[in-house]
């Protein structure tokens, strides 16, 4: 599977032995290489017929709709940076949106979606539900964030008009209000075999996008009270010397910011705390760095310039006896700071993804990581997880292949740091704007 003409950033080309080591590059060159390396993931792992993108690079991986949302959002970057022709980007975007519009929306267990939402994982070829997965609210929200991004970016005529039309239609079809199931806040998902899942969201996390996009809907909006009810579960804490709206895994402080510029805008909670979500992510990063410095469990590699504990791949569930004590490791899971879980696994992409919030620390840490453990970035593309404590044959444990979410998030965050492109696009979206206003955001660019 590969994307048609105009795409570049081929992984094997980047393996060229004559290329300069990453850690020796100047900042702009380093960012360019890593951004292109990340984009190459989409080139390699997209089904060009329907626009679906693999969750991971591993054989047999299904499509993750969230990764499609990230991929769509990256096409404008690729156009602006001339990695992809506008024509190719438009064609691929249109095929993607058309697939989602045409695919089956029903209660059938193998449909692609229902009520405008989509199943978390889809078969790469047929686009139907796979793995008996859930109709996912947060993943649909991330998909819709991408859908809205291309709907705002492609402002030309012809096919670009069709993109705008489909973007609007897909978003309007999502029945956010249904997802409340009569309650104030939303469930995390639904299954045709079962109904709404037990799980909701407690405490701050990446669900902000769900609530903001849900509130902005002109057709099936979430009531504004959904968001405020959710914020009742927030925890404002002083942790390791920093005030923060707590959430453990680093990615939860980043996902919403990939699309929306939260600088200077405040909801009721942040007004009360005299902060904003952007400043809050800065605090979270400070806590992650402080945790790395304190390294309470004595993991190899951790320090103030080596951090990045988040959701991602891990060594797998196993226990080892080391230094006369038991060490426990986990597989794919959501790791967090400072409450844990923490098994010594970091996400090598995570430090760089914090670039807009503090370029100094992000670059310093990334350079250090690339110098000490160059294996974490194969083909200019970061792996999902690395554990220097769990050594085998002289090297730490490394997650196999790549994960699409990591690549998309990193690419967007680098771009937001370099040009603010994605933020600038979504600021033009009346839906994003209405959603933010309806849940109570004011100030700044609003």
């Amino acid at each position: 599977m590969s994307v048609e003409e105009g795409t570049s950033g081929n992984g094997s080309r980047l393996m060229n032995s004559g290329m300069q080591a990453l850690c020796e590059l100047a900042d702009e060159d380093l960012l360019d290489r890593l951004q292109r390396g990340a984009f190459a993931y989409f080139s390699e792992y997209t089904n060009a017929d329907n626009g679906l993108v693999s969750d991971t690079s591993r054989a047999g991986s299904p499509c993750s709709i969230a990764v499609v949302g990230f991929a769509l959002s990256c096409y404008p970057v690729a156009v602006e940076r001339d990695w992809m022709s506008r024509r190719a980007a438009v064609a691929l975007t249109l095929r993607t949106l058309q697939f989602f519009w045409d695919s089956e929306q029903s209660e059938q267990p193998d449909a692609t979606g229902f009520k405008g939402f989509y199943y978390h994982f889809l078969d790469m070829r047929s686009g139907r539900r796979t793995w008996q997965c859930e109709l996912s609210l947060v993943d649909t929200a991330l998909l819709m964030a991408g859908v809205l991004t291309v709907g705002c970016y492609f402002d030309g005529v012809g096919d670009e008009e069709n993109i705008r039309h489909l973007s609007d239609a897909l978003y309007r079809r999502v029945d956010w209000d249904w997802a409340r199931h009569g309650l104030e806040t939303v469930s995390q998902g639904w299954k045709p075999e079962y109904g709404f899942l037990h799980y909701g969201w407690e405490g701050y996390n990446e669900a902000t996008t769900v609530y903001v996009l849900g509130a902005g809907s002109p057709t099936h909006p979430l009531p504004a009270t959904s968001f405020s009810d959710w914020t009742l579960t927030y925890q404002w804490e002083n942790l390791l010397g920093h005030d923060v709206l707590y959430s453990g895994p680093l990615f939860t402080h980043l996902f919403s910011h990939a699309w929306i510029d939260y600088r200077g805008i405040q909801d009721a909670f942040m007004r009360e705390k005299r902060s904003d979500y952007f400043e809050n992510t800065k605090s979270a990063i400070a806590i992650h760095r402080e945790y790395g410095a304190r390294n309470p469990r004595g993991y190899v590699g951790y320090d103030r310039n080596c951090w990045g504990i988040t959701a991602g791949d891990g060594p797998g569930n196993r226990e080892l006896r080391e230094s006369r004590r038991d060490r426990r490791f986990f597989g794919y899971m959501s790791r967090g700071v400072p409450y844990g879980p923490d098994d010594g696994t970091i996400a090598p992409w995570a430090m760089l993804a914090t670039l807009p919030f503090g370029p100094g620390a992000a670059l310093r840490g990334t350079r250090r990581l690339l110098k000490t453990y160059p294996e974490v970035c194969l083909n200019d593309r970061f792996s999902s997880g690395f554990n220097a404590t769990l050594q085998s044959q002289g090297t730490g444990w490394l997650s196999e292949g790549w994960f699409g979410l990591d690549q998309g998030l990193l690419l967007m965050m680098i771009e937001n740091y370099r040009t603010g492109l994605i933020w600038e696009i979504t600021r033009r979206s009346p839906i994003v704007r209405d959603g933010l206003l309806r849940v109570g955001f004011t100030g700044g660019w609003l």
Partner: protein, 492 residues
């Protein structure tokens, strides 16, 4: 209360001795007085405390107990569970001895009968505090009988009719039963029966991830059972804050407990001598093979067969006796105390409500139960203790709240003790130094929370707390560290 007849707790104390204290065989109920100032139904912590307090005030008191003095706390609750938890903790620590420098040696197997024998010895020893002689010596008439109101001012204690000016219902609560299909036929244990086990179950299935379910899951796992803990909610200890519950979940997993959250037991069956629990997690169905089942889904107030209607006392079957803030029932001369009327079913609450019921029944000034400074603890490892408000409760009341958190992994004494999992978190009303509540997750959270209890009861704020010297190193130093973080906040 003093324990007069044992020096070290390990001298032989028989079951006969236990019964002699809490319900002597062949006990003859006294001849009732013509009228009592106070009749108390139930001889658990609430009733026992109320009886002594009323006598010290010169009231004539009768106490009616259906089963054994000491209530759930002594017989099947706090005392036996804390005893088995201690045994499990000691056995676990022997597995970690190498880290502390002991040479490796073969790990001991659990001598389960010895564990249970120790529990019985401890229970007998502590039963002295609840001994019938103590009540008798104070001039309290004790009736071992079923109690049932026969009118607004009379209670039948078996065949005896007791007239009263005031009464306190303190009949406690019992383990809640379940309508899970097949469970009755398969047979299950509750907190009332699990401490009668004579053999360690190889596989133990526990239904319910509240405090008792979690405590016993971890304890039996450490003793050597293969434990599966099934909870039909998204987290264990639903009343506690998420980070505490998640830390406990990780700790139980580390011990080897098979934890199943969001999972409902939909059926139980017996096949070829094995008990099976059929479960559903959303749409995923699984079956768990076990040798014993512990049902631990909460406690049901004992309100049945008490003739409450005859005394015009309002109650709800699943909720218990309705009382006002002063513990008075719908019968102005009848009060209630302890688990039969309190949402917080803890021994400390039972005892204090027993005292308050007496005070309000006879005093000239009524006082309310202070819910804001009730400390409680779940005795897992690490322990999870709480007092006052949770952040969520404060936010629901539009109180701006900030938490000051100290991780135990940053507390020197916790590090030297190898007890550095957990945290202490103090909730403060934003813009002030007023403490709203605290959550402590630590090996000895049950002790540390009492410092917070004193602090909150005396109105000490974060600024003052930051100046109060603690020994160094001490795990309680974490409490002061949180206050130091408060005073070191940049003004804003």
């Amino acid at each position: 209360m003093p324990h007069s007849d044992s020096l070290d707790g390990y001298e032989p104390l028989s079951q006969d001795e236990f019964l002699r204290r809490v319900h002597p065989p062949g006990w003859q109920n006294p001849r009732p007085q013509s009228r009592y100032d106070l009749v108390i139904l139930g001889g658990g912590p609430a009733g026992f405390t109320a009886a002594g307090f009323a006598r010290r005030q010169g009231r004539s008191v009768a106490l009616v107990e259906r089963y054994r003095l000491g209530g759930n706390s002594l017989n099947s609750g706090s005392i036996p569970s804390k005893s088995i938890i201690r045994a499990a903790r000691v056995l676990l620590s022997l597995r970690d001895e190498e880290e502390y420098g002991a040479a490796a040696f073969e790990r001991p197997l659990t001598d389960f009968p010895a564990v249970m024998e120790r529990i019985r010895r401890i229970r007998t020893r502590i039963a002295e505090s609840y001994a019938v002689e103590r009540l008798h010596a104070q001039g309290i008439d004790v009736f071992f009988a079923d109690a049932c109101f026969s009118g607004p001012h009379t209670v039948m204690a078996g065949e005896a009719s007791l007239s009263f000016d005031k009464a306190i219902v303190a009949t406690g609560a019992r383990p809640r039963s379940s309508s899970i299909p097949g469970l009755d036929q398969v047979g299950y244990l509750t907190s009332d029966s699990i401490f009668d086990l004579t053999e360690l179950p190889k596989r133990l299935g526990i239904i319910g991830g509240g405090p008792l379910g979690c405590e016993l899951a971890q304890a039996f796992c450490r003793l050597g059972s293969r434990v599966t803990l099934v909870q039909n909610e998204a987290k264990f200890l639903p009343c506690e804050e998420r980070d505490a519950a998640e830390l406990l979940s990780m700790s139980m997993s580390r011990d080897g407990v098979d934890t199943r959250l969001n999972t409902t037991v939909v059926g139980a069956r017996l096949e070829s001598g094995t008990k099976w629990l059929d479960t559903v997690d959303d749409d995923v169905k699984t079956s768990i093979a076990v040798d014993e089942i512990l049902l631990s889904i909460g406690r049901l107030p004992n309100v049945d067969d008490l003739g409450l209607a005859a005394a015009a006392i309002d109650f709800e079957m699943g909720q218990g006796i309705n009382v006002d803030d002063f513990l008075c029932t719908s019968n102005a001369d009848v009060y209630a105390a302890g688990d039969v009327c309190n949402r917080r079913q803890f021994t400390n609450v039972a005892e204090s409500s027993g005292l308050l019921a007496v005070q309000n029944a006879f005093g000239t000034r009524m006082e309310r139960q202070d819910q804001s400074t009730i400390p409680w603890c779940t005795y897992c490892d690490p322990e999870i203790a709480h007092i006052g408000m949770h952040a969520r409760e404060a936010r629901a009341q539009s109180i701006p709240v900030q938490a000051f958190t100290v991780m135990m992994q940053d507390v020197d004494r916790a590090i030297t003790d190898g007890q550095d999992y957990g945290f202490i978190k103090i909730y403060v009303r934003q813009g002030t130094d007023h403490i709203l509540g605290a959550t402590i997750v630590a090996t000895r959270a049950s002790e540390l929370i009492n410092e917070m209890s004193v602090i909150m009861s005396t109105g000490i704020g974060m600024r003052r707390l930051a100046t109060i010297l603690h020994t160094y190193p001490a795990q309680s130093g974490a409490i002061r560290m949180a206050a130091m973080a408060f005073v070191n906040e940049p003004p804003g």
